[in-house]
Amino acid sequence: MPDNAQLLQLAIATPLVAALIIALGLPKRFATKLALVAFAVPAAVALWLWSQYPAEGGARYHYLSSIDTGLANYGISLKLGLNGIALPMFLLAAIVGGAAGLYALRSSAERLKTYLVLLLIMHGGLLGVFASVDIFFFYFFHELALIPTFIMVGIWGGRDRNYAAMKMTIYLTVGAMLSLIGLIAIYVKSGANTFDLISLKEAIAADGLAVTTQKHIFGVLMFGFGILVSLWPLHTWAPLGYGAAPSSAAMLHAGVLKKFGLYGLIQIALPLLPAGAAHWAWPLAVLAAVGNVLVIGFVTMAQRDLKQMLGYSSVMHMGYCFLGIAALSTVGTGGVVLLMVAHGLSVALLFMMATCIHHRTHTFDLSEMGGLAQKTPVLAGFFVAATMASIGLPGFANFWGELTVFVALWNFSKVLTAVAVAGVVISAIYGLRAAARVFFGPQTEALQRVLKAHPPMDLGWGERLPALLLLAALLFFGFYPKAISLPVDQALNPPANVAEVSPVTFQR
């Protein structure tokens, strides 16, 4: 029986090894079975590790293991482990990856084997991102997951795929390179000459960085990570890319991979560079509130294309996450983690449902749809539920995330809180309007013609199962947010990394 640290390694290695085996020429019928196993194993392991996680242990890393890849002298080694912040993110990656994988297996994509290989690599990379204690490998796994995204957009993408793939690649490379420089700066300036986050924290706790250095590094990291998380005005790749991406890639990227930047800010930048964070908090908050929430909120309202709308709405919701980080309190940061998990689940569900709708209506244009609920009630149910979740209605995990972010933000700036709360109204308007356009009201003539040619089927089990998985997780965390907030709270509170900046503490 392997111990838990080995199980963690296993969860990351399984999809990558499976991808390698399939790429080496496994016949298709075995390939789909192997892929199913490779998507299921990480999910099972993640649930097991979560259930085994020590109740009071969120502050420290658990399941630690370290592998030397040949650069240990230079402070780079594959060090894996989970702390209270990483645990929920790892769980999120496993669940969304599992759902995206299940959905991909049932989809009738051309060159299915290549598609599965890329998706498995992406999944392995995602799991690695959140399990890495070494911040170099944190970056490394992110890139490992990012490259398949570009290829998937380029090969299986929809409209404008070449343009979208190129634009995404260039934007995200800029962001990734900036983040890499920021991480190298921490490596060198901390004097520790290591990428190991635990040693870095110790080195910086013993001998803090100069304030100007912190300001510079935080600035680089903020914009680097910001591009990756679609901080306004560097967001334009996101709606375009998600609009063109095949559904499973969009689910994984918008749901999980995009959270890399926020996770990096919370796990690395805030604890290591508190003075830098304090310096940049206001610009970040203003960009997020005015740009992401307000401007993009209105842009989202104007969208006529379902997938573009989802892309913009995900950009908008990232604004709340930035606001929570900018609030510089453990309440806000904890709320961001909750919101990241919740948003990851809900946006993945929405992207999946959007593709299901497209299969039935053969269009993403909202003005050409209507009345689909009569034909496909289950699909309508899932879509409406996901929309409600993404608006942030109570009962879904998003509610707790947004609420805590707003509470934290109130102490930071009351004006920005008002702007952010107004954003909820905006997202209610476009979310509900889209649901109404697609599922209720009279059918348009164009749709009637399509429906006559291809009589719509309600969701089959291949679509229901992943959707159920995501919705169940959303509801579970909605009714029992303590499952996330407790380990996060422990990770943020005892060492009081951020609490020095702000007196607010996280009470629940």
């Binding site: 040949g70 380029g154 490596y187």
Partner: protein
């Protein structure tokens, strides 16, 4: 010269130390003899013999690498200095020449050119390259460098019935001669400035690296010596294709036969860096503070110009050439870093090795794709490659990805190490330029991938210009390409085999 002195000099003639070079030179001559004495139908075995002799020497060098103690010995009266870096260079050049010979077995039969001379010259050039990396004396340095360059004059214009190839050969000849003249002028200036000095009981001239170094320690502001230094570095910059000596690169790379392009891109460039590292870390070390700004500006300009001029290239060979210029820029950044951070020299070698594997993989695919006209390898010819020849497509993707520095491939680790070293050396401005360069390079590398993998809509398939059909790789060819791609991937995850060796 007294008899004792002669005896002392003769005692330092350890012929075994340059055994690999001697064996290669003998093998090269042996190939010519074989051509004369054997009947014509047996000539097809000659490439195999060239490859076998290279492989044999490589094995010998690798085996003795760990067992023998390279203690910075001065041999041949100070002409040659055995160092660990020199050993690494030997392995590099042998490996690269092996792969060049492999490429030649694909390309040469197509052109119906005499084949024996090609391998002969490759072997001689390899021996000269290895000698160059060990030289400790400007006379030997220049002779070895000229042997390499003259070999390349012939190789570049090897397909002599092609107009573009001849043009490339002429350009390389004229510009190469110019750069040799610059280099020689620099050497002479240094010689004149240093004169004759007595060190450790020997009379040394300004050709000796140690004498130049000693002189620069004493007179760091001597105008003649600094002018000489800059001219010598200019001559080396021509070899590595650094700004402003990069103008020859695109035309020569396009016109040269594909194996020669690979040879130029990998070995010639690496030779430049091996020499540059020896020079700036050893000979010119006393005037480091004057070299840092010069080399930094050179590196920044090389990165920017290489990447920007590669943006609009549609010919695969020109693209490789200009993107190779930008790689020279990143490597120069590593050299600048090595002036203050000692381990950066190992990082430069690491980068060169990853560059070797990735470039050779790409050139391998190019060799299989090239049609009758070796100079016309357009990116449009890569259309549908992934569908028609998925194996070649995969190797190409790995190679280009590694050149672009995309994780988890080896090229990324090379860039990372150089970036970390540059950061430790406080080269922030240069790092910013390098980041811009990497992002720009994504555009054209990605364009290549796009041509091979993503289907583009063509208005009228019939009217599209004909493109050469890719040749099917042989079993051995597939094995070599697959192992190059595999090494590139594995080194991205597990660097220990190289780091144990380059970054002890």
């Amino acid at each position: 010269m007294s008899p004792e002195l002669l005896k002392a000099v003769a005692d330092s003639n350890h012929w075994w130390a340059i055994g690999p070079e001697i064996i290669l030179a003998c093998a090269a001559l042996g190939l010519l003899v074989l051509e004369i004495v054997t009947p014509k139908e047996h000539h097809r075995y000659i490439p195999a013999m060239a490859i076998a002799s290279l492989a044999m020497v490589l094995t010998a060098v690798v085996i003795t690498f760990t067992s023998s103690n390279w203690s910075e010995e001065l041999l041949f009266g100070g002409l040659i200095r055995l160092t660990g870096a020199g050993q690494i260079a030997r392995v590099f050049f042998l490996l690269s020449s092996l792969l060049v010979c492999f490429l030649a077995t694909i390309c040469l039969p197509r052109a119906k050119m005499p084949r024996v001379e090609f391998y002969h010259i490759v072997l001689v050039v390899t021996a000269a390259l290895m000698l160059l990396a060990h030289s400790n004396h400007f006379a030997l340095f220049f002779v070895a460098l000229e042997t390499v360059t003259i070999g390349f004059y012939i190789l570049v214009s090897y397909f002599r019935d092609n107009a573009l190839t001849l043009e490339a050969g002429l350009k390389y000849l004229v510009l190469g001669a110019l750069s040799s003249a610059i280099l020689l002028f620099g050497i002479v200036l240094l010689y004149g400035a240093v004169g004759r000095v007595e060190m450790d009981g020997f009379v040394r001239t300004g050709f000796d690296f140690a004498a130049v170094r000693a002189f620069l320690v004493e007179n760091p502001d001597n105008f003649l010596a600094i002018a000489g230094t800059l001219l010598v570095l200019g001559g080396v910059a021509f070899k590595i294709g650094a700004f402003p000596f990069h103008v020859w690169v695109p035309d020569v790379y396009q016109g040269a036969p594909t194996p020669v392009t690979a040879f130029l891109a990998v070995s010639s460039k690496a030779a430049g860096f091996a020499v540059l590292l020896t020079l700036v870390l050893n000979v010119f070390a006393p005037i480091t503070d004057k070299l840092v700004p010069v080399l930094s500006v050179l590196a920044a300009a090389t990165i920017l110009i290489g990447n920007l001029s590669a943006l609009k290239q549609r010919n695969a060979k020109r693209l490789m050439g200009l993107s190779g210029v930008s790689h020279a820029g990143y490597l120069l950044m590593g050299v600048v870093a090595a002036l203050t951070v000692p381990w950066a020299a190992g990082a430069v070698w690491f980068y060169l090795f990853t560059y070797l594997f990735a470039s050779m993989a790409v050139f391998g695919v190019m060799a299989y794709l090239a049609g009758a006209d070796d100079t016309a390898q357009e990116l449009d010819h890569y259309e549908k490659l992934a569908k028609e020849r998925p194996f070649l497509g995969a190797v190409l993707a790995v190679g280009i990805g590694s050149l672009a520095g995309i994780p988890p491939l080896a090229g990324f680790m090379g860039k990372l190490l150089i970036f970390v070293a540059a950061f430790q050396a406080h080269l922030y401005g240069l790092l910013a330029v390098a980041i811009v360069g990497v992002v720009v390079s994504i555009y054209y590398y990605f364009g290549w991938i796009k041509a091979a993998f993503f289907e583009t809509w063509t208005p009228n398939p019939e009217s599209a210009p004909a493109r050469p059909a890719p040749a099917a790789p042989t079993l051995i060819g597939s094995a070599i390409l697959a192992s190059l791609a595999l090494v590139t991937v594995l080194l991205g995850f597990y660097q220990e085999p190289l780091t144990r060796w380059l970054l002890p």
